[in-house]
């Protein structure tokens, strides 16, 4: 199938409620420590849902040192820029560029691309208009005439969905092929798949792929809760008593390079991208098919692209968002593809919540750590697998991967399903 170059992973970065480094997040996963706690961004004591996995105790300067950027970006962008910076640092791309002649450096930049997957916007960005609405007293004409004196002139720029793409480019000088995916929960993982495809098609030599989101805000939680999608205490993927998902926030990023360019600069290899699959169930915004149709097709597409069979897969990081419908149909899809004997299955959202647009990329970078450690972390909140769903080998305790290949699954509104395969480096 694959005649294009091998695609190596040379840098990783992440931030979420469980930590600012992959080591810290991994440590939480391994030790069954959840970052879910009381919401601090507003006083939620009277709310039906009072919990989330927030990134707390981190000031903006720690995320992004450049204060000018704080004024023209949002919280989600700072997460994305931080994770991208970590991944780029680890890859050693910038010191390598320093060694190049100016023409070669310019060509390097033109062949370096960026794909971001973004949450796309928040309700609270509109709250910047609330004082103006008060002043206008419902009069649209007054609203218009007092606009310039009341609202930050940079309002639009602060809220551009493609800010991370823009500022990764400006900060690091990358000028190659690029995109910003705004496809709700699968934004990040689709961005990653497109980044890999760009290298595969020879459009770029290296790509930075980022997923980032910060969806913990009153109106979003209010609506999700009314739709019955949120748990009020614990996120329990695949559990008999699962009650819904819990919001998280954060970002994750990878640097991908063609094998030849990674090899020629003797870059550290942290893994290899093998293939991806993407399918929608055409079910509209909220509905999920109970038969796992879209997810099973996405997995089979990824296996075909990677030229692999189900038996080659060593572990599965499921979407496992903890909602009744998604987890049940996910189990059906896994049964459909892997039969009675799937490799160990885990899911990570119990530890740092559902980070929406960031979730697939965050799961993927942690899957690479799991392979490196040769350990599939348990789902610490899993008490008893739902007997009503198709049996699957998920456990509250750690398991061992069957091979150095991980399958990562990501699902979202719009009936979206994405599957991604990576090879890790077992240490």
């Amino acid at each position: 199938m694959r005649s294009s170059p091998r695609i190596m992973i040379t840098g990783l970065g992440a931030v979420c409620g469980a930590g600012l480094t992959l080591e810290a997040i991994w440590d939480a996963l391994q030790n069954g420590r959840s970052a879910v706690g009381p919401i601090t961004q507003w006083d939620a004591t009277r709310w039906p849902v009072r919990i989330a996995a927030e990134v707390t105790g981190v000031d903006n300067r720690t995320l992004v040192d450049d204060r000018k950027l704080h004024k023209i970006t949002s919280r989600t962008d700072l997460f994305g820029l931080y994770a991208a910076g970590e991944a780029i640092n680890q890859s050693g791309l910038l010191p390598h560029r320093e060694t190049l002649e100016s023409n070669a450096a310019a060509q390097f930049n033109d062949r370096s691309g960026v794909f971001a997957g973004s949450g796309g916007g928040t309700y609270q960005s509109n709250y910047d208009f609330l004082p103006l609405l008060s002043a206008a007293e419902g009069d649209l004409q007054k609203f218009g005439s007092e606009l310039s004196a009341t609202v930050n002139p940079m309002w639009l720029l602060k809220n551009l969905p493609n800010n991370v793409l823009c500022h990764v480019g400006i900060r690091h000088g990358f000028k190659g092929t690029n995109g910003c995916v705004t496809n709700q929960c699968v934004s990040g993982i689709v961005a990653l798949a497109e980044a890999a495809a760009a290298i595969g098609a020879g459009e770029a030599d290296r790509m930075v792929a980022i997923g980032h989101d910060s969806a913990i805000e009153p109106e979003t939680i209010f609506h999700y809760n009314r739709l019955g999608l949120l748990a009020q205490d614990v996120l329990r993927p695949f559990d008999r008593d699962r009650r819904g998902t819990i919001f998280g926030e954060g970002a994750a990023a990878l640097v991908l390079e063609s094998e030849s360019t990674a090899h020629s600069r003797q870059a550290p290899t942290l893994g290899e991208f093998l293939g991806s699959g993407c399918a929608t169930e055409a079910t509209g915004i909220l509905d999920v098919r109970p038969d796992g149709d879209g997810l099973a097709r996405a997995i089979r597409l990824a296996l075909a692209e990677a030229d692999l069979s189900p038996v080659d897969v060593g572990m599965i990081v499921a979407h496992g968002n903890g909602t009744r419908a998604s987890d049940a149909s996910e189990a059906v899809a896994l049964r459909d593809v892997f039969g009675a004997d799937p490799p160990p299955v885990t899911a990570f959202k119990w530890a740092f919540g559902h980070t929406i647009a960031a979730s697939g990329v965050l799961d993927l970078v942690l899957a690479l750590i799991a392979l490196r450690q040769n350990r599939v972390p348990g789902i610490a909140t899993l008490n008893s697998i739902d007997p009503g769903i198709a049996p699957l080998p998920a456990s509250s305790t750690a398991q061992q991967p069957r091979s150095d290949i991980a399958l990562v699954l990501c699902r979202g509104f719009g009936g979206m399903n994405v599957a991604l395969l990576v090879r890790g480096i077992i240490s």
């Binding site: 006083d43 009277r46 709310w47 023209i72 033109d110 691309g113 973004s118 949450g119 796309g120 916007g121 309700y123 509109n126 609330l130 008060s134 649209l140 004409q141 609203f143 218009g144 606009l147 609202v151 930050n152 002139p153 940079m154 309002w155 639009l156 720029l157 809220n159 551009l160 969905p161 493609n162 823009c166 480019g169 690091h172 990358f174 000028k175 690029n178 995109g179 910003c180 995916v181 705004t182 496809n183 709700q184 934004s187 497109e194 595969g200 098609a201 109106e219 209010f222 609506h223 009314r226 739709l227 993407c278 399918a279 929608t280 055409a282 915004i285 879209g294 597409l301 509104f413 719009g414």
Partner: protein, 431 residues
């Protein structure tokens, strides 16, 4: 790069400020009709800018016979549904249960938009005294609307269209501001070349002509303030240009694998032959004066399509009518085209339609396909006074008949994303 799949454009649909379908839009673009007028859909009289290019009198229910679905659709989703329906009808093929998994979807979607009424409700319940208090949402009288929530999701348009048309393959939504539509079509092209879909419904939709969207651009000072003379507003490349005019609309194309389109006897407008895509990495809203960034996008698109500047006969410019963009784009065109520049017809159809933001690149791709079919370069309307820093071969006064072997369409976005699409005549004509 050897033996790559060729991709045919076999269906076009448009909802624009100059027409609620592609034939009307195309006729009005050729005639240089402007869609710019004082805003009608809300009282904008107090805003620094109160003109825009609105879609007029679209009745989505005449095309989309699913009232429940339309309840979930915002204004821009309605544009998208209507344009996509037209494109599929035009192509004479649509997803069937057996083929649905081989149909893909790629769209440039606008920013998350919350309606005036919804923000008003939040204001009333949570911020009546100015300070935001989230507990107001918990008031039992708060008009919580799960359908409105669904409409605000970033992939709501994707969800509605894939459901309505029964598309079950690869599906993506992208947003790189004004480059979104172009990048969505570029993504569709790549997805098809990768063999992930045999057919794609690809395009863009947007509407920021509401109090918040208009505010966003007024605050930046990016819009033309020709409030008293809307008939002259949006005059790309004119020495007196003073900003863009905010428009709205949608454009969709049906893309198909060449051989199978040919085999079923489909009418092929043009080949979507190449995609160029670069990042300026310069400033958020400004383009580089030298055209850097745009230059790479155009060069890549031509290289990707296997087209030399010598065979490019028409460029549909980004041409927003801002001082900076038009100058920078002309610098880029001169660099890329070299001595060919005097022979390449250039126009910006934003002179008629205004700027459709995330939909612009998709609609303008359709314009390029129609220009190739008819051998007509549409006029750059409203042009009166040449700008010495914009020396390109503009199509002025009236549209120009010329055989178009290959065309380019530029779309450059806030944030620095540059998209260029390359189109080729389906029959490989000679000049």
């Amino acid at each position: 790069m050897s033996h790559r799949k060729r991709i045919a454009i076999t269906g076009i649909g448009m909802v624009t400020p100059v027409g609620n379908d592609a034939p009307t839009t195309w006729a009005n673009l050729q005639a240089g009709q402007t869609g710019v007028a004082p805003l009608q859909s809300f009282d904008a009289s107090g805003f620094p800018v109160h003109i825009g290019a609105e879609v007029k009198n679209l009745v989505p229910g005449t095309l989309i016979h699913d009232r429940k679905l339309l309840k979930f659709a915002s204004r821009s989703h309605c544009f998208a549904l209507a344009a996509a329906e037209e494109a599929l009808t035009d192509a004479g093929i649509r997803p069937e249960p057996a083929s649905s998994h081989r149909w893909g979807f790629s769209v440039g979607a606008g920013m998350m938009a919350v309606s005036w009424a919804e923000v008003q409700a939040v204001h009333q319940f949570c911020a009546a005294n100015g300070e935001f208090n989230p507990d107001g949402l918990l008031d039992s009288r708060f008009p919580a609307d799960p359908i409105a929530f669904c409409r605000t999701q970033t992939n709501a348009g994707l969800a509605l269209l894939t459901r309505h048309f029964g598309i079950r393959g690869y599906a993506t939504a992208v947003h790189t501001a004004c480059a979104s539509g172009g990048q969505a079509l570029g993504t569709a092209l790549k997805v098809m070349r990768r063999g992930l879909a045999d057919f794609m419904l690809a395009g863009g939709y947007d509407s920021m002509l509401n109090p918040f969207g208009l505010s966003a651009f007024c605050l930046l000072g990016a819009l033309s303030t020709d409030n008293e003379t809307p008939q002259h507003a949006s005059r790309p490349f004119d020495a007196t240009r003073n900003g863009f005019v905010l428009g709205e609309g949608a454009g969709f194309l049906v893309l198909e694998e060449w051989e199978s389109a040919h085999a079923r006897g489909a009418h092929i407008y043009a080949e979507l032959a190449g995609d160029g895509n670069s990042l300026s990495s310069y400033r958020i809203t400004d383009s580089h004066p030298s055209g850097d960034g745009a230059i790479q996008a155009m060069q890549q698109a031509m290289a990707d399509a296997g087209i030399a500047p010598e065979s490019v006969d028409y460029v549909n410019a980004h041409g927003t009518s801002t001082l900076m963009n038009d100058r920078s784009e002309c610098a880029a065109l001169r660099t890329v085209m070299g001595s060919r520049i005097e022979h390449v017809a250039v126009s910006s159809t934003k002179s008629c339609m205004g700027h459709l933001i995330a939909a612009a690149g998709a609609v303008e791709a359709g314009v390029c396909a129609l220009a190739i079919r008819d051998g007509i370069a549409p006029v750059n309307a409203k042009f009166a006074e040449p700008d010495p820093s914009c020396q390109v071969n503009l199509v002025v006064r009236e549209s120009k008949r010329l055989p178009i072997r290959a065309a380019l369409s530029n779309s450059f976005g806030f944030g620095g994303s540059n998209s260029c699409l390359a189109f080729r005549h389906p029959d490989g004509i000679t000049p």
